[in-house]
Amino acid sequence: MAEVLVYVDHVDGAVRKPTLELLTLARRIGEPIAVALGSGAEATAATLAEHGAVKILTADAPEFADYLVVPKVDALQAAYEAASAGGSLAAVLVPSSAEGKEIAARLAVRIGSGIITDAVDLEAGDGGPVATQSAFAAAFTTRSRVSKGTPVVTVKPNSAPVEAAPAAGAVEALNVVFGEKATGTKVVSRTPRESTGRPELTEAAIVVSGGRGVNGAENFSVIEALADSLGAAVGASRAAVDAGWYPHSHQVGQTGKSVSPQLYIASGISGAIQHRAGMQTSKTIVAVNKDPEAPIFDLVDYGVVGDLFEVVPQLTDEIKARKG
């Protein structure tokens, strides 16, 4: 059976959800071989095996943390060479994080393969895997495939369900020899992002976002309270981020994160193209805005025309009451 390399995104051995979604997609094409790098790589094995990895290739070295991107490309290339020696490697799948896309792209150049980024679905096809992508601020859906080499595909979070599919999950050490370019860009220092205790924005099932209408950093507590009542992540429009009311890491839109949750609640967001690009593939969309003409109302399943400072706290209280 064909094999599929899956690049593992993990934090000190804790596998992030998009990687488990990748395993679901990989199993449609072949047997997943996971590649886990850096501190805690071996600790990923149990979770990966539970979700279908037949083999887990691991490597740890200081270079992975001390230098940008290239050491990981060297390692993924070593895994590619080891896996393709068998002659039946069907694809290389990588989570569509900023770093994941860079790793995938550099690997693709090195191995002479085409690349597809930000797939939202993937299935087996006669001429190799077929990827679904969103284009032009999600106004279009395209189906694409790689026409040269072993397909390298990066996949967005929330593109497939996480499925239990127990497999052997044999751990093997990956032998990596770093090239001379591996140490080109030094990571001089690293400041971990402070945890908010809320779900990761791109992975969350529910996202509650605030925009220009929130009118001040201090008022974002209204958005956060609603998010917490639903166990949701908090997002912000570019207007709110540019005004300095909420951190850029929470920006939803063309130049921020693109999210596709089960439920998206937009508060005080007009719905400009820049924002729509990042959220209009959400399953259910709800908006609160005082302007009945706001373009966001063209997208919604349910909309309330009104003052968010009246509507949102009432909604939060009602949710809390119903949840007891």
Partner: protein, 261 residues
């Protein structure tokens, strides 16, 4: 010696226009007005700021694209770049990121460089991988997705804000750098800048000038293919209510009905 900065820019269809695909499933560039990709303005801005701090610098803006792409170069020149290079060739139609990066890399090498500056992504394809591929092709350090950048004494430094951490990066020149929309608002061209741009040199190159064969680029030379493109069905009209004092409760009722509560 003066610092040689090459800024890669893209001429893209206006994102506020009705963008769509042409019959051959490439991005339609005829029916929607084009402009300098907004995200590349940030790269031009940082190039100008780096040049202002440097002891002598020359900024070249580089684009690959059809005749109209000159508009993007003019905009960058009017912001303050010194000269431009335009790679234009009929055989380039339909080129994918692999082909584009090959053309850019050859043109960058021909121009000569210490710093290559790019935006974080184009606003049409939005892949965001071209800077990394350029670094791979040029064999120089990749210092990408910076929200803050400086160049001093042959070293580029900057801050990269990732999903889980902010990192301070450092690399020796020459290097490929990309900057985000958090790096600093791009300046507007002044009237003087617009007038001056008309006299700045724009060099035109074709594939043969760069030693690239037609088969290596274009739709046929692409390493990936789009098989179909369909407009996303319009979302069915939702329920809109006006808040008369019970809006929050009505919304809760809707969410409960959808099993979100």
């Amino acid at each position: 010696m003066s610092l040689r900065i090459v800024v890669c820019v893209k001429y893209v269809p206006d994102a506020t226009g009705d963008r769509h695909f042409a019959d051959d499933l490439t991005v339609d560039r005829d029916d929607v007005d084009g402009l300098l990709s907004e995200l590349d303005e940030y790269a031009v801005e940082q190039a100008l700021q780096i040049a202002e701090e440097a002891d002598g610098a020359e900024i070249t803006v580089l684009t690959v694209g059809p005749e109209d792409a000159k508009d993007a170069l003019r905009k960058a020149l009017s912001m303050g770049a010194d000269k431009a290079v335009h790679v234009e060739d009929d055989d380039l139609h339909g080129t994918d990121v692999m082909g584009t990066s090959l053309v850019l890399a050859k043109a960058i090498e021909k121009t000569g460089y210490d710093v290559v500056l790019c935006g974080m992504a184009s606003t049409d394809g939005v892949m965001g991988v071209l800077p990394a591929i350029l670094a791979e092709r040029l064999g120089v350090p990749q210092v990408t997705l910076l929200s803050e950048v400086s160049v001093e004494e042959g070293t580029v430094k900057g801050r990269r804000d990732g999903d889980t951490a902010s990192e301070w990066l450092e690399a020796a020149l020459p290097a490929v750098v990309s900057v985000t929309d958090q790096s600093g608002e791009a300046r507007y061209p002044s009237f003087k800048g617009i007038m001056a741009a008309k006299k700045k040199p724009v060099e035109s190159l074709d594939l043969s000038d760069l030693g690239i064969e037609a088969e290596e680029v274009g739709l046929e030379g692409a390493w990936s293919a789009v098989d179909s493109a369909a407009e996303r069905p319009a979302r069915t009209a939702g329920t809109i209510v006006k808040d008369e004092g019970e809006g929050g409760k009505q919304l809760a009722e809707y969410l409960a009905g959808q099993k979100f509560i």
